[in-house]
């Protein structure tokens, strides 16, 4: 293999994590299950990783508290990436205002547990998920009939409308934000106190596992197949009898619900939110997380979300230069791994495809 060939093979993904998955898939059921169990256990112990010799050096976040970074950033980004992946990766709808749903979730908890009522967090959380879902439906119903890029700017506008409204309406706490938000109730030895982030991490990681489990069921169901069809070719899906609008709305609502869930977890952890927590740039960061990991692949979204949240904290030493390096990294990853770090297995994605409708990508071509 010549140097240039090996270079190309590296960038086109021969060393990807999916290889590991392929190798695992060949093993017996019990091997796979125990491997999964070990992974999950190891991830539950993640807050202690920095004290492991070599590994600690890699994962630690100098200058800031690692367990808090896990709860405040990583868990939230992974959840959000999972939700946004449903919208962008599975249904193929470009959403640039996803932070709006995240904000709706956080604000619902804040309003119900502090600003205007004193409901416990455990009750607020499902309400927040529901409210975010309704927000998704309300935004989706008039806008999902729009084509891809129109949807992008409309959703971007939605995110901004939410933030500015929260900033200027006194009932929503305006620019002062809302403090003293309720925390999750203590369960046995798990005490959700201000100074210990670990219980929040256990809660967040468990939530992620549940969401992944539910999404996997969904992906393999009729709904998942419909999303697939819509993303591949919306017109064809419509002709085959798929109610494209209904399923697009479902994707939007489910995505919004997961965003709201992330928001409610965040509000319950930090106990204070203000509109500055939900800037437009965060939406863009969320989208970057999904695409960086590999749009349409749930594992890609998880990895992308974790990386985008963790990297800036890991490289605090770069201070001002972090964001610059992040921008360059985005370009480079897209240039050399356009499908993301962990791409989808099936690459035939009409909507995500090239701007040239009929050159390289479609199999068989016109004959």
């Amino acid at each position: 293999m010549s140097l240039s060939e090996s270079l190309r093979s590296v960038t086109s993904g021969s060393y990807s994590v999916s290889r590991l998955g392929e190798a695992l898939a060949k093993q017996s059921r019990s091997v796979r299950w125990s491997f999964g169990a070990i992974c999950i256990l190891a991830l539950y112990l993640l807050p202690w990783w920095p004290s492991v010799p070599v590994l600690g050096w890699i994962v630690e976040t100098p200058g800031t508290s690692f367990p808090s970074v896990l709860t405040d950033q990583v868990v939230i980004f992974v959840l959000v990436a999972l939700g946004l992946n449903v919208v962008v990766g599975l249904a193929g709808l470009l959403d640039l205002g996803y932070v709006g749903f995240y904000a709706v979730g956080a604000y619902t908890v804040a309003i119900l547990s502090s600003q205007h009522a004193n409901l416990p967090w455990l009750l607020c959380m499902p309400i927040a998920v529901l409210v975010s879902m309704i927000a998704g439906v309300i935004l989706g119903t008039p806008t999902l009939r729009l084509r891809g890029d129109y949807l992008a700017i409309v959703t971007l506008g939605f995110g901004e409308i939410i933030r500015i409204t929260a900033n200027n309406v006194e009932w929503l706490g305006d620019s002062r934000g809302i403090s003293n938000i309720a925390t999750p109730p203590s369960i046995g030895p798990l005490k959700f106190t201000v100074l210990d982030a670990k219980p929040y991490y256990f809660l967040g990681f468990t939530t992620i596992l549940i969401v992944i489990f539910l999404l996997r069921r969904l992906e393999n169901s009729r709904v998942g197949r419909s999303w697939n069809a819509i993303r591949e070719d919306e017109d064809a899906a419509e002709l085959m009898g798929v109610d494209t609008f209904k399923f697009k709305l479902w994707a939007f609502a489910i995505g919004a619900a997961i965003g709201g869930l992330a928001g409610s977890l965040y509000a319950g952890k930090v106990q204070f939110i203000n509109p500055n927590n939900f800037p437009l740039q965060l939406s863009i960061l969320f989208l970057a997380a999904v695409v960086l990991g590999g749009a349409g692949n749930m594992w890609g979204a998880v990895v992308g979300g974790a990386l985008v949240a963790w990297m800036p904290e890991r490289f605090r030493g770069f201070a001002d230069k972090r964001v610059f390096v992040f921008g360059v990294a985005l370009v480079l990853v897209m240039v050399f791994r356009p499908q993301g770090l962990i791409p989808r297995k099936i690459r035939k994605e009409r909507w995500l495809e090239s701007w040239k409708p009929s050159t390289e990508a479609d199999l068989g071509g016109k004959e």
């Binding site: 050159t359 479609d362 199999l363 068989g364 071509g365 016109k366 004959e367």
Partner: protein, 238 residues
Amino acid sequence: MMLEVQDLRVAYGKIEALKGISFTVDEGEIVTLVGANGAGKTTTMRTISGLRNVVGGSVTFEGKDITQIPSHERVKLGICQSPEGRGIFPGMTVRENLDMGTYTRKDHKSSAKDADFARVLELFPRLEERITQLGGTLSGGEQQMLAIGRALMSRPRLLLLDEPSMGLAPKLIAQIFNIITEINKQGTTVLLVEQNASQALRRAHRGYVLETGHVVKTGLGNDLLNDPAVRAAYLGGH
């Protein structure tokens, strides 16, 4: 020999659409490629125009290997195509569409261009009536005329016509083929791809029969027309 295609192989992903096609076109000829859907006719045309990358083989035009040069350079050498589906620019007027044919020509304001313009309008009087209309508003037949006329505006030495009869009424088809013959008589070499094999073979000097990415038969147009196997496969068996 004007165009020589040798052992051409083209793939879409892992699926090979052309599995080694060879044929030639001599100056002044009309050569046709016939075959069923999926035989590789349009892929061949697109490859000659440079829209597809080849996996193997070569395309030689007037002694020059053009396999690797970009499409717009090929137009300068004298190859122009009227593509399948006509490729009319819907937002441009008929005149602007025709002007696009002269895109690579250096003699912009010259009388030679005006002469070509007059010649095309003479061949297709319908276009003159529609000259200020938008391309997207033309009927199928008119669009086909426009596509051929536009290709002619580049003064090609080799004109590639991909399915010029597709979607047209029988009367119009005859008219289009008459014009193709006329163009050829005026000195332009034509490579024609058709599903309407009987018309194509009747007009062509020579023909090639394509089947799933291979050339399976070749001969003079009339010989192929009378070949029982070809008749059975492509001409409805009569």
